[in-house]
């Protein structure tokens, strides 16, 4: 009696999973395929196979706006930001994990609370700060905050407490190694996998950031990728092939990162939430 029912549900499960896979993948496929078709092809039919207008679309795209400029600008912000989150995140986490000092719990509570603050809601104050610091049209307001990334601190503190024993720190200390030397040469290499995981998340978050750059960057040549993408509809009007290609280019870096690191990313998500 139980058997046919189970077979039925096994089939529905399979179908549901396949349906969701298609739903997640097809929008990207359509973008990649349509980026190789002429705008006329795109409005005439639903394309299933790649076309031969990639080069044409590329030329149209570049003639209207230099997408690689946006790509380059995003890299210029994202890479230093990510490195700062990794290095300083580890350093601050180490300070909280392995030193005893007064007000430690209060200070750590501030770190935790800052994680929950909806940062987008202080964007007007952020704008005013950048005006006062003469940092509009500068990338610094997006790079420097990497030093104070609370999520990275939270994640790495747990990791340091679990994997770095006190004796690992005390031995070099007796040998006369400086405190920063211990951090740089012993602690940091040991927690590198965790640092890398957090760096991937921070890279993605920084790459995707939109509202901040939209407000602070006023000169067109400074626009980041998401800001450019949001303006594409107005720029390309009916050049659909070029639009699809631009979307494809904006999506590819993240897809590559995910293809290489998907395991770390999902493991990072998983361990992060278990705590």
């Amino acid at each position: 009696m139980n058997k046919p029912k189970f077979r039925f549900s096994a089939l529905t499960i399979r179908l549901l999973l396949i349906f969701l896979t298609v739903l997640c993948a097809v929008p990207f496929l359509v973008v990649f395929i349509n980026s190789t078709h002429s705008s006329l092809d795109i409005i005439k039919q639903f394309n299933i196979l790649p076309g031969d207008s990639l080069k044409e679309n590329y030329n149209t795209m570049q003639s209207l706006v230099d997408i690689w400029r946006g790509f380059f600008n995003s890299i210029v912000i994202t890479v230093p930001y990510t490195l700062l989150t990794g290095y300083f995140g580890a350093m601050i986490a180490y300070g909280f994990a392995k030193y005893r000092f007064r007000f430690k719990n209060v200070l750590y509570a501030i770190v935790l609370v800052s994680m929950m603050i909806p940062s987008q809601l202080s964007i007007i104050g952020f704008y005013r700060l950048c005006l006062n610091l003469k940092m509009t049209n500068s990338y610094l307001p997006f790079i420097i905050p990497g030093i104070a990334n609370a999520t990275t601190v939270f994640f790495l503190r747990g990791m340091i407490e679990q994997s770095i024993s006190d004796s690992m720190i005390e031995a070099p200390r007796i040998e006369g190694c400086s405190e920063f030397g211990i951090f740089n040469r012993i602690v940091l290499p040991c927690i590198m996998p965790g640092v890398a995981t957090m760096c991937i998340f921070n890279f993605v978050a920084s790459w995707n950031a939109y509202m901040g750059p939209l407000i602070i960057l006023q000169r067109k040549e400074l626009y980041t990728m998401p800001v450019m993408i949001s303006m594409i509809k107005g720029l390309y009007v009916t050049n659909y092939g070029a639009m699809y290609l631009a979307v494809a280019i904006s999506v590819i870096p993240i897809m590559i990162v995910f293809a290489i690191f998907s395991r770390y990313i999902i493991d990072g998500l998983t361990t992060g939430s278990e705590k």
């Binding site: 964007i123 007007i124 104050g125 700060l129 104070a148 509202m211 990728m225 800001v227 949001s230």
Partner: protein, 310 residues
């Protein structure tokens, strides 16, 4: 080992690790940067909410006039309702789907679990502005790929003018948000279920409990902290929704401001109309709303079984 008194051990530990001063040095960068780029903007936003400022002239103190204005601002209420509606429209199916998938992965041996997990999670990583534009390209216009598909399938009423209808546009924003987030929610809930002791399931099965009984009576209560965490973070994020409705619609939240969210409204007030003071007021009111609602939600969900800590 146990022979050493605890106090002595502690003293011993302290003497060797007593370089607390360095602790401050290591954590100082966080607080310096947080004070400047985190706390100052918050205080400044609150100050601005009591001022009138166009970005050029010096700001003028006007007391609570902005707050009086927001109380009778119909567009603000509309945007708040839009934001809540769009969030409910994606959060409910998102948690529903995530729970279904969790049940599937918990009770059935599905091959390729890691593959599915990765594929479902992928949309969450993609730039939200790109996702918004992508779905706009797929849907907008009589010749859009989706409409061509609908025509080919002989669907009644195709081609559909998706972005002429308020209901459809709002539904689509919810759908895109669902598409971006159901995988993330699933991954986190699944992670929560790995902490559930497997022997509990076996015991329940031995006692004759069905799979669905086991799921509702054992799995769900045990992963409740994860669900509370997800519900609250989803609410906080959902109330700040900006990128997707902006790029999916025509950058203005049309038709008829159907997908104008609070964040879009505060952006428009500040950076299009140059009412920075009023824009800051919208931020403060939304902040208060988020804080109060998540506080209530946390209390209400915690009171149910009071035993755990988030």
């Amino acid at each position: 080992m146990q022979a050493i008194p605890e106090t002595q051990m502690r003293r011993n530990k302290r003497s060797k690790l007593d370089r607390g001063w360095y602790g401050y040095l290591f954590i100082a960068p966080f607080f310096v940067v947080f004070l400047i780029f985190g706390l100052y903007p918050i205080i400044s936003t609150f100050q601005l909410s009591l001022q009138k400022w166009d970005g050029l002239m010096p700001a003028i103190q006007i007391g609570f006039k902005n707050y009086a204005r927001i109380l009778s601002d119909q567009v603000f209420y509309l945007s708040l309702w839009n934001t809540i509606r769009i969030w409910l429209g994606n959060a409910i199916p998102q948690f529903g789907m995530a729970l279904v998938l969790t049940a599937i992965f918990t009770f059935f041996r599905v091959r390729g679990k890691n593959f599915y997990r990765a594929v479902f999670y992928l949309p969450n990583l993609i730039t939200a502005t790109s996702v918004g534009l992508l779905f706009n390209l797929l849907l907008d216009g009589d010749n859009s790929p989706i409409n061509q598909l609908l025509i080919a399938l002989g669907v009644n009423g195709a081609p559909i003018s998706f972005f002429m209808s308020k209901t459809l546009t709002s539904g689509l924003v919810s759908f895109v948000q669902w598409w971006m987030w159901f995988g993330y929610t699933t991954v986190i809930i699944l992670a929560g279920t790995t902490t559930v002791d497997k022997s509990l399931y076996e015991a329940a099965m031995v006692d004759g409990a069905s799979k669905s009984q086991t799921f509702w009576k054992i799995t769900i209560p045990l992963i409740q902290p994860t669900l509370v965490y997800l519900a609250i973070t989803s609410f906080i994020g959902g109330m700040q929704l900006f990128d997707v409705p902006l790029t999916l619609s025509n950058n203005l939240g049309d038709p008829g401001k159907a997908v104008l969210t609070v964040s879009m409204y505060l952006y428009n007030q500040g950076f299009k109309n140059f009412n920075y003071g009023y824009s800051a007021t919208i931020s403060c009111v939304l902040f208060l709303f988020i804080a109060v609602m998540s506080g209530f939600a946390y209390k209400a969900m915690r009171r149910k079984d009071g035993a755990y800590k988030l």
